[in-house]
């Protein structure tokens, strides 16, 4: 199990690297799908099966399809190197290094190695999730549904040439 984690984690990191470094958007998108699926596997390993499946269905199966569709619709090919905004990567690299260092420091310092979870494995099945969702988080759930509705309308208004 532990080995599986490190393998999948390695795949995720490599795929994420690929997302960032690929110049062709389709490759980035495919790499991102790999990352998403790897994360789904990690969720499975943690014991969040339902979440893992939802991750695949919604993220990989719906959201990323949308991305790929738009990439194809706009025929986004290899990006051409531009001469503008060199500042951001130049400034970003050291900043990112500091950012990583800070977080590593926090994680290593605050959560020492081998700090295993004492908590019992959770029942994270649909019933448990559903119970929590429709009892404790009813209001956020409803608000999110409204958000989705608004997003759908917004997307239609934005993308349609003329209504």
């Amino acid at each position: 199990m532990a080995a599986l984690f490190y393998i999948v984690a390695g795949v995720a990191v490599l795929a994420a690297l690929s997302v960032v470094l690929q110049r062709t958007p389709v490759y980035s998108a495919l790499s991102l799908i790999v990352v998403l699926c790897s994360l789904a596997v990690l969720y499975l390993l943690i014991g969040a099966e339902f979440l893992a499946v939802i991750q695949v269905i919604v993220y990989a199966g719906a959201i990323m399809v949308l991305f790929v569709l738009v990439i194809m619709l706009l025929n986004a090919r290899r990006e051409t190197p531009g001469d503008r905004s060199r500042l951001a990567p130049l400034l970003g690299a050291p900043l990112l290094a500091v950012f990583l260092a800070e977080f590593f420091f926090v994680i290593v310092k605050q959560l020492p190695r081998g700090s295993e979870s004492s908590a019992a494995p959770l029942d994270s099945g649909p019933a448990a999730i559903g119970g929590l969702l429709f009892r404790n988080y009813v209001l956020p759930f409803e608000v999110t549904s409204v958000l989705i509705l608004v997003a759908i309308l917004g997307a239609v208004v934005l993308a349609k040439k003329e209504l």
Partner: protein, 573 residues
């Protein structure tokens, strides 16, 4: 701080109200004729009545603040009416001059009011005067003197005393009824009224009161000497007014407030009459005011001549006209009064002689002798219409008989006017008497003093007759002989020029070179206005580079913020 809109009405107020309304009533009537063809008829009356409102507010006010409202109100009306012919540069300049010069005095007045409030915690006349005797004395005398001097500074500005008299002669640029009403009969006397009203304060500040007397006396003499050589009829009358106001202050300053008010009242009548007469002459001569070009008008303008003559006799202090009584009361008071001093008397008497001289000079030059007018104009000279002459007659009657309200005891009179005003002034006058160092009877008797001043007046008249009727070439020869003094007098001792050099030019230079070029253009416009804009623009220019619209640099800034914030969280103790 509380200052009610409170009116206060006592016998002093009554005297002032009656004087103001009677004189202004007659001048209104006169103005109907005078302003008929001048243009701005309705504006004139609007201003005039606004002035009247403010003047009545001034005299009926129950506290210093409300009095100050009226005080400033009449100043405003004065400005508006002096600059009535605002298309004329000299008129608008004169208006500004009056406004600015009186403002200097008003600064003192304002400070005085503030100090009064600070000291007495009230501005109400009755409360203030009540507290003077109970609260103050001893260590507060200095404060009281300061208050009185500051208030008097306001009076100096408003009543055209030395050294702030310079605006009044120029104020003659206004229509003649205005000169008569505002700059002779009423507004300029506000200072005298104020001092009299504040007698409760002044009585406890003898130093201030002596200052009032000294300034008044000096002004009276000084202005009279200038008046000697003035050829402009109205200006001559203006200097005469200054002189007479000085005389009133002598009355107040020597502790005879009632005498000052008495002279104020009689002066209102005869001086407004003089101005109106001058206006009548001016009308007849198509605006000519130079006395040297007049002459022989007594046949053509009979009413004007006779009324003018009565007023002249009154101002010269010839019995039985009103001026004699009021002026003699002041002069005897100046000698014998609680704060009187022989010098005041003698200088006053000399002033009387000078007054008689220049007034008769005016009469002789204007109404006697040959007609020196241009022949073309001479045929048109005729008496003014009844609208103008009737008020003259009424005023002449007042000028003649007003003195009998206070017939001196020497003539078997009762000094009724004094007794009438007794409730107002008795406490302060009796206080002065009680503290005065000299006894009343230490000087010569009133009769002797009266005789001396009468003799002085007669001498003045005779001198005038000699100079301008018997040997008309004499003034010119004297002018040549004493050319230095003559020129100094003709040029009003160069006071205006002196002020110009001492005050106006430095202020102008400072205003132009420092306040305008440096403060306004560099400091305010440059540093503050444009500087603020430049700083904003410069900061914007720098910050604009952050707001580039470039998504990736935004992300870099966000990352920077996150990193810094995280570092702060981590490094926080």
């Amino acid at each position: 701080m509380q200052a009610d809109f409170k009116l206060y009405y006592d016998r002093l107020t009554l005297v002032m109200t009656v004087t103001v309304t009677v004189v202004s009533f007659l001048i209104h009537l006169y103005s109907r004729g005078y302003m008929e063809h001048e243009g701005g008829y309705y504006r004139f009356f609007a201003y005039l009545n606004l002035f009247l409102f403010m003047m009545l507010l001034l005299v009926t006010a129950g506290n210093y603040l409300l009095m100050f409202v009226g005080w400033e109100g009449v100043g405003l009306c004065s400005y508006l009416l002096i600059g009535f012919y605002f298309r004329k540069k000299s008129a608008s300049d004169a208006g500004k001059k009056a406004f600015i010069v009186t403002r200097i005095g008003d600064v003192g007045f304002t400070l005085g009011v503030a100090l009064t409030f600070w000291t007495f915690n009230s501005l109400d006349f009755q409360e203030v005067f009540a507290r003077v005797s109970t609260l103050l004395l001893g260590d507060h005398e200095t404060t009281l003197t300061a208050i009185c001097l500051l208030l008097f500074l306001g009076a100096v500005g408003k009543s055209a005393q030395l050294p702030l008299y310079v605006w009044l002669p120029d104020a003659m640029e206004g229509p003649t009824p205005v000169s008569a009403l505002i700059h002779a009969a009423t507004m300029v006397t506000a200072g005298v009224y104020m001092v009299a009203r504040s007698s409760g304060l002044y009585a406890h500040a003898p130093l201030a009161l002596e200052t009032v007397g000294a300034v008044g006396c000096l002004t009276a003499f000084f202005a009279a000497t200038i008046a000697l050589a003035q050829n402009d009829l109205k200006r001559m009358l203006a200097y005469s007014t200054i002189s007479q106001l000085g005389t009133m202050f002598v009355g107040c300053g020597s502790g005879l407030f009632a005498g000052g008010i008495f002279h104020l009242m009689t002066h209102a009548f005869f001086k407004s009459l003089l101005f109106l007469g001058a206006g009548s002459v001016m009308h007849a001569l198509s605006g000519e005011l130079d006395m040297r070009k007049m002459g022989g008008l007594r046949h053509k303008m009979r009413t004007t001549f006779w009324t003018f003559l009565i007023a002249t006799l009154a101002i010269s202090g010839i019995p039985p006209f009103s001026g004699f009584f009021s002026k003699d009361q002041i002069l005897t008071g100046a000698y014998l009064g609680p704060l009187g001093h022989p010098w005041l008397y003698w200088l006053g008497t000399l002033t009387t002689a000078l007054t008689a001289f220049y007034m008769f000079r005016a009469v002789f030059l204007t109404f006697f002798g040959p007609l020196r007018l241009a022949p073309a104009l001479a045929d048109d000279v005729r008496e003014s219409g009844p609208k103008m002459t009737r008020p003259l007659v009424v005023l002449a009657v007042f000028s003649a008989i007003a003195g009998y309200v206070s017939l001196p005891k020497t003539f078997g009179g009762t000094e009724w006017f004094d007794r009438y005003l007794n409730p107002v002034f008795s406490s302060s006058e009796s206080f002065l008497h009680s503290t005065a160092e000299k006894a009343l009877a230490s000087g010569p008797s009133e009769g002797i003093l009266m005789a001396i001043s009468l003799a002085a007046a007669a001498a003045g008249i005779l001198a005038a007759y000699w100079f301008y009727m018997a040997s008309p070439e004499l003034p010119d020869r004297l002018a040549v002989k004493f050319s230095g003094i003559y020129r100094a007098v003709v040029n009003k001792y160069y006071v205006d020029e002196l002020y110009d050099w001492l005050v106006v030019r430095p202020v102008r230079a400072g205003a132009e070179n420092f306040m305008w070029r440096k403060m306004d253009e560099v400091a305010i416009d440059g540093v503050m206005v444009n500087g603020t804009a430049a700083v904003a623009a410069g900061a914007g220019n720098i910050l604009r580079r952050i707001q580039s619209g470039n998504l990736r640099s935004y992300a870099a800034w966000v990352l920077l913020g996150t990193v810094v914030w995280l570092a702060y969280i981590l490094l926080r103790p």
